[in-house]
């Protein structure tokens, strides 16, 4: 044994950093991710950088070459834009909360109870997505409009009840947002609930758990990643929602997306619009990061 320690270890030539990088670039994972990466850079990172740049240029300029200024942000904080922020985040938060409450029973049914009826029910829920959101919202518009609207008109003709206009109220906007974004909450939730193993539910029942205790101790924790993803997706989309407020809310629901659109079009103030956008992205981003830290994507995708 003693003489073995005398044998010198053969020198292994260390490959240069360039070779390592080249090898990495040629790996199948990186190669197959390249198309996505290219689109991501062109379609997402690029515009984002431009918007970020514009948000620091003086008001009403149309090129990025101008001087650096934080005037736009100061303007947002001194004027009453916070009202729009509150509207957007409150509507989005309420949409998420309502969708979670409405979605859970449906998701539970789809993943546990409906059996072979799950596919038709799923189809019914998916079909509306084939129709443009604006068309669907105009449908609601016609349904709710005063006098000639299907609901108001129908109620008046049949029962003599005058509902007045149902449009242009925050409640109507909220209802429309719940309607439009339900699938985005629901489908990840179904995925999450379908990860709850039947035997664990049975075991908890056998160990004395009541229906509610099973929900709290077993179903909810296991389905949580799916529920969180659904909530997150819905929230992010709802914060940026504009059509619902515009069509059904009139002037009564000044959401942040309307402000941004106003600055970019009517007011011709790109830098201010950009600054509002950046601020919205930052606030939403912080919320997303907070939630994502609690998520285990690998588990949700069934890798573990």
């Amino acid at each position: 044994m003693a003489d073995r320690t005398q044998v010198p270890t053969p020198a292994i030539r260390q490959p240069g950093i360039l070779w390592l990088l080249l090898g990495w670039l040629r790996s199948p994972g990186v190669l197959s991710a390249t198309p996505v990466l290219v689109f991501f850079v062109i379609g997402f990172v690029g515009p984002l950088v431009i918007v970020l740049g514009f948000s620091f240029t003086p008001p009403r300029t149309f090129d990025l070459g101008g001087t650096f200024t934080t005037e736009n942000y100061k303007h947002i904080f001194t004027e009453s834009y916070y009202i729009s922020f509150i509207w957007s985040f409150a509507l989005a938060g309420l949409t998420v909360a309502c969708n979670l409450l409405i979605g859970y029973p449906i998701a539970y049914g789809l993943s546990k109870l409906f059996g072979r009826w799950a596919a038709p029910v799923m189809l019914v829920l998916v079909i509306p997505l084939f129709v443009s959101e604006n068309v669907r919202l105009f449908g609601w518009y016609i349904f709710l409009i005063k006098g000639g609207g299907i609901l108001a008109g129908g109620l008046k003709t049949a029962f003599g009840i005058d509902t007045g206009t149902l449009l242009f109220q925050p409640g109507t906007v909220l209802m429309a947002m719940i309607y439009v974004y339900l699938p985005f909450t629901l489908f990840p939730m179904v995925l999450g609930l379908s990860m709850v193993p039947r035997d664990q539910v049975e075991a908890s029942r056998d160990l004395g758990a009541s229906r509610f205790q099973i929900f709290r101790e077993v179903e909810l924790p296991i389905a949580m990643p799916g529920i969180l993803i659904g909530a997150l997706l819905t929230f992010v989309l709802a914060v940026g929602a504009i059509s619902e407020a515009k069509l059904l809310g009139g002037q009564n629901t000044p959401v942040i997306a309307l402000d941004i659109q106003h600055e970019f079009t009517f007011a011709q103030n790109w830098p201010l619009g950009s600054a509002i956008s950046v601020l919205t992205i930052v606030v939403t981003g912080i919320l997303v990061v907070l939630v994502m830290r609690r998520l285990d994507l690998d588990r949700l995708l069934g890798r573990r």
């Binding site: 035997d199 908890s204 029942r205 056998d206």
Partner: protein, 355 residues
């Protein structure tokens, strides 16, 4: 034990799924403190039977009595019984301690009381104390078994049900856990109802065994009774490798074997026996140097031999049949393959069974 009150009674218990009769008219009493094992091949209805006993499935017909109280419609969470599942069904999002204490938490016991009981249970099933805060996903197969066992014991149930919990475990660990389970049955004094497809496993652990075939309980008895007096061909072959000869009742109390065109001396004949099978265990077969050494003999040639550790198994071909002979290693047959050999048995070592 003989006149003890049965803790669990099944009366004409039947379960149908659509047109499939999973459990067919099972009547059985289980005595308090007993280790009862239900054995059957997959699809024999044993899991369905156990799920009905545990309250996870409702019987289609018949009754279940728990200490003379009819419990047919009582759901699982209201029965003083607990099940160890085949998959173990551990809560992977919880720690070892949280798993074990689940039933106590459901009852609303205090954190301190739960922890105390949890740790004492971990000691009972030989889990190290520092596993308490470990995730169950970090535990090995054997450790997970112990967690499942401790979890089932936590609520101090009257009866513990086991749904093949050892089937996914490798042979050596399984042997170890079988012994531990039997010891745990002794130390806790609880009633264990265990199901398995392995009669070998049942033999090691059980006080009594029930054999299930196609939804029916076809034989109930102690391991010895089942081993020595299998009721039919299914039971005898379920025991492992046996030699089975098709026979008919012959003249003078003997039995005729058409395959070999001769008569054998018969063991005790079941009443009204006309035709059936003569079953001879491999270890009851002997190599003979002269036909007079045993009551019955058959000539054949040695086809192959297999070392089983403490024993050696031989396959001897005779006629269209392959006979299995087993010897202790010290008494191994001295000879070569293709030797012409004479094998034989005494009538008392054979059993007559019907189909």
């Amino acid at each position: 034990m003989a006149d003890a009150v049965p803790i669990l009674r099944m009366v004409n218990l039947t379960k149908q799924f659509g047109r499939l009769v999973a459990v067919n008219d099972v009547t059985l009493d289980i005595t308090e403190g007993e280790f009862f094992t239900i054995v059957g091949p997959s699809g024999s209805g044993k899991t369905t039977l156990l799920r009905m006993l545990g309250g996870l499935e409702k019987p289609t017909a018949g009754d279940i009595y728990l200490r003379d109280e009819r419990v047919n419609g009582v759901p699982a969470n209201r029965r003083p019984t607990c099940m160890v599942f085949q998959s173990l069904a551990l809560f992977n999002h919880k720690t070892v301690g949280q798993n074990i204490e689940f039933s106590l938490k459901m009852r609303g016991e205090s954190r301190r009381a739960r922890r105390e009981r949890g740790l004492s249970l971990m000691k009972l099933v030989q889990l190290p104390e520092d596993y308490y805060d470990r995730s169950v996903t970090k535990c090995s197969g054997g450790e997970r078994q112990r967690v499942a066992l401790a979890r089932a014991l936590a609520s101090d149930p009257d009866i513990l049900f086991f749904d093949e919990p050892l089937s996914a475990i490798d042979y050596r660990l399984r042997k170890l856990l079988e012994v531990e389970l039997k010891d745990l049955h002794r130390t806790t004094g609880k009633t264990f109802v265990y199901i398995t497809h392995s009669l070998e496993e049942a033999m090691v652990m059980s006080d009594r065994i029930g054999i299930m075939q196609e939804g029916r309980l076809i034989q109930i008895g102690s391991p010895n009774e089942i081993y020595l007096q299998p009721r039919n061909k299914f039971v005898s072959e379920f025991m492992g490798e046996v030699n089975t000869l098709a026979v008919q009742a012959g003249a003078n109390g003997g039995i005729d074997c058409p395959d070999f065109d001769r008569s054998f001396t018969s063991p005790a004949r079941p009443e009204g026996f006309a035709a059936g099978y003569l079953v001879i265990r491999p270890e009851s077969m002997r190599f003979l140097s002269d036909p007079s050494e045993a009551e019955n003999h058959i000539a054949g040639s040695l086809f192959n031999e297999y070392a089983l550790g403490s024993r050696v198994q031989y396959h001897v071909s005779a006629g269209d049949m392959m006979f299995v002979v087993e010897k202790l290693r010290e008494q191994a047959y001295q000879g070569a393959l293709n030797d012409d050999v004479l094998i034989g048995w005494d009538a008392k070592d054979s059993v007559l069974v019907t189909d």
